[in-house]
């Protein structure tokens, strides 16, 4: 149990493990922060408040671990090879992107080395290229009906510009050729100048 496992940054299960360790370490740090405050003769309530930043970070890390873990476990239920491949790419991207965003946590805790974090940054770029051909199909799979999406930019048929023009013409400001404010304010103003 005392042998630290080797971290293979390209392996999702390895990354799940790293997220788990990060969560455990941040929970421990938060608990120790409270303990240190108590040793400085602070009350339990003050100790809690003085450790709140660490506590929120610990919760955040715990939740991040849960999300990565659930995503990884979901892959185990996917039988279709093509879908498994593309979802695995997404899961790796999710996990790696999270590491680069919070790289300080992983580095400070000694969970990853600087070369590994750099390797992850390079790998993220490769994953972006891998996902590019499937990007539209991946959002199509959400299967959100045009009437539900209600977005000219996100239309299924992609006919954006002509519909944007049509939408704008329906603006109440276009109901009359000349808006009444012209007669009420601008014309009288002109007469006064």
């Amino acid at each position: 149990a005392s042998q630290p496992p080797v971290v293979d940054v390209n392996d999702l299960s390895s990354l799940v493990e790293v997220y788990k360790r990060r969560a455990a370490i941040l929970v421990e740090m938060a608990a120790k922060s409270i303990q240190q405050e108590l040793q400085r003769r602070k009350s339990q309530e003050v100790a809690w408040n003085n450790s709140a930043i660490e506590l929120v970070r610990a919760s955040d890390a715990h939740c991040h671990y849960v999300v990565v873990k659930v995503f990884s476990e979901k892959l185990g239920e996917v039988g279709d090879t093509a879908i498994h491949t593309v979802l695995s790419t997404l899961a790796l991207l999710y996990a790696m992107h999270g590491i680069t965003k919070d790289s300080g946590d992983f580095l400070l805790a000694g969970l990853l080395s600087v070369p590994q974090v750099l390797q992850i940054s390079v790998r993220i770029k490769e994953l972006l290229s891998q996902l590019r051909p499937n990007a539209v199909a991946l959002v199509d799979a959400f299967d959100i009906h045009d009437k539900k999406l209600n977005s000219v930019l996100g239309r299924f048929d992609g006919n954006v510009y002509e519909n944007m023009f049509e939408w704008a013409r329906r603006s109440p400001l276009n109901a009359t050729e000349v808006h009444e404010s012209f007669h009420k304010y601008l014309k009288p103003l002109r007469a006064k100048l």
């Binding site: 149990a1 005392s2 630290p4 080797v6 971290v7 940054v9 790293v18 969560a23 455990a24 929970v27 938060a30 709140a52 506590l55 929120v56 610990a58 919760s59 955040d60 715990h62 939740c63 999300v67 659930v70 995503f71 979901k74 279709d80 093509a82 879908i83 979802l87 997404l90 899961a91 999710y94 992107h97 000694g110 990853l112 080395s113 070369p115 590994q116 972006l128 996902l131 499937n134 990007a135 539209v136 199909a137 991946l138 199509d140 799979a141 299967d143 959100i144 009437k147 539900k148 999406l149 209600n150 977005s151 930019l153 996100g154 299924f156 048929d157 992609g158 006919n159 939408w167 109440p172």
Partner: protein, 468 residues
């Protein structure tokens, strides 16, 4: 079909429909969802003005009209499964919440979970048939997530066997509940219970606020709409001031705790049961985060394939903006997040139902874990989704600013999830309380179960950086 987007679809390496089945939870669920969508979108009764071009009052009016139609149609088609009702509702009100949401999503479930059989007998059919239109009044003007700070009082009077409800201060006025302003005639009011001179903490009471036939407010009730907000234009979020309002003893929800006619108090088996409705909604919000991000990434990614801009190689035609690495870096991690949150939403629903069943069987042991998990994941996913929607809007350049993109509306309708049903930082601290408690237990050698069991492992090993 735009040729760029057609070409994108031709290049896909997997079967889109098969992936939709996974997201929906199986082909049958997809089929049924599409049937429901077709029912709504082909129904002329639901055709409506684009709300972007209406005033707030017109938007509320249109939304109430559609909600009324929706209730009739749900009965007509015999749609009663909560998931199917959700699908139907999300097509009728695709932009966001509606005036009857709290009636369906909080008043009814609270009744189902916390009412005694006698109370169900008395209130359920009236609620089901919308004779009673209810809301859930918990938050006060000066008190939000910190529930123990709520000031509204319900004092039991053994002489008349009634509770007397009061808003003792300005800050105790109920503030923000959806549907409270104009639509509801009843509210489940969360108040500090006083009996025989003792305070027994927060409990839920069914309080009539408007006459059920005239809809006029009842004596002692001051009720209205809180005014325009960042979003939620269709919803009459309201205020409620209670001035010596008397309700029968039987209007306290007494499935778990009780006040006897003589005023003696029977404690609930778990103090967290009062917040059961909030836990339910928080679990649901995790899935909402996924849906908001799914919508936003759908818009931004489709548009990014249609939009051509500038040049990568001089002299060549303007490329699709999705070919820029920066655009991919903005959008693809969010696409991955939308998928991650979809699966976490499924996971939360499963956990919620499993633990709810245990609670119904009298086993409350897993309630603290559900409470901590739903609070943390609600905060984590809503924060991520909220900032993600804005990234999607910005990635659509100037057109993302137009309401025609739908992104501004998605943002303003989603943003409140970061504060309602528990402000996110407070939620994270609640989760932390459970984590620290679990950590201490692990340190003392106790074997933890569930999602925090990893804290046992951390007691005796540390991971070191390794070369690969």
């Amino acid at each position: 079909m735009n040729p760029d987007i057609r070409r994108e679809r031709e290049n896909a390496s997997f079967n889109v429909n098969e992936l939709t089945f996974i997201l929906d939870g199986g082909p049958e669920k997809t089929k049924r969802r599409r049937e429901i969508e077709s029912l709504v979108f082909s129904d002329p009764d639901f055709s409506a003005e684009d709300p972007n071009f209406l005033s707030r009052s017109e938007r509320y009016d249109q939304s109430v009209r559609k909600s009324a139609q929706m209730i009739l149609k749900l009965r007509e088609y015999g749609i009663a499964d909560p998931e199917e009702i959700y699908h139907y509702k999300s097509c009728v009100h695709p932009g966001g919440p509606s005036p009857l949401d709290l009636h369906l999503a909080m008043f009814l479930p609270t009744l189902l979970n916390q009412a005694t059989p006698e109370q169900m007998e008395r209130f359920f059919m009236l609620t089901w048939n919308l004779e009673i239109i209810g809301t859930y009044a918990q938050t006060e003007m000066g008190h939000g997530t910190h529930l123990r700070g709520l000031e509204t009082t319900a004092t039991y009077d053994p002489a008349t066997q009634e509770f007397v409800l009061n808003s003792p201060t300005i800050s105790s006025i109920k503030w923000w509940p959806g549907g409270l302003g104009k639509s509801s005639n009843h509210a489940i009011v969360i108040a500090q219970l006083y009996s025989l001179g003792n305070c027994h903490g927060l409990h839920a009471f069914i309080v009539p606020i408007r006459d059920m036939s005239t809809h006029k407010s009842l004596p002692g009730i001051v009720v209205g709409d809180i005014g325009p907000k960042f979003g939620f234009s269709e919803v009459d979020n309201g205020f409620l001031k209670l001035e010596n309002v008397r309700i029968p003893r039987e209007n306290m929800l007494m499935k778990y705790s009780k006040v006897e006619p003589d005023g003696s108090y029977v404690k609930p088996p778990s103090s967290k049961l009062t917040y059961g409705t909030m836990v339910f909604v928080r679990s649901f919000i995790v899935g909402e985060s996924a849906r908001a991000l799914a919508k936003s990434t759908t818009i931004a990614i489709r548009y990014s394939t249609v939009r051509h801009q500038s040049e990568i190689r001089p002299g060549e035609p303007e490329p699709q903006i999705l070919d820029y690495q920066t655009q991919q870096y903005k959008l693809f991690p969010l696409l991955a997040t939308a998928y991650a949150f979809s699966f976490v939403g499924q996971y939360m629903t499963k956990i919620y139902h499993r633990i709810s069943e245990s609670i119904n069987d009298g086993d409350f042991s897993e309630l603290p874990e559900l409470h901590a998990l739903s609070a943390g994941l609600k905060a984590f996913t809503t924060w991520e989704a909220n900032s993600g929607i804005e990234v999607c809007r910005m990635s659509c350049g100037g057109h993302g600013y137009s309401r025609s993109s739908a992104l501004p509306d998605i943002y303003v309708e989603f943003t409140p999830t970061c504060t309602y049903e528990g402000e996110n930082t407070v939620m994270m601290l609640q989760t932390a309380r459970y984590l620290v408690k679990s950590y201490r237990q692990a340190k003392e050698g106790q074997q933890l179960s569930g999602i925090v069991s990893y804290l046992n492992e951390s007691q005796d090993r540390r991971l070191q950086p390794q070369a690969v």
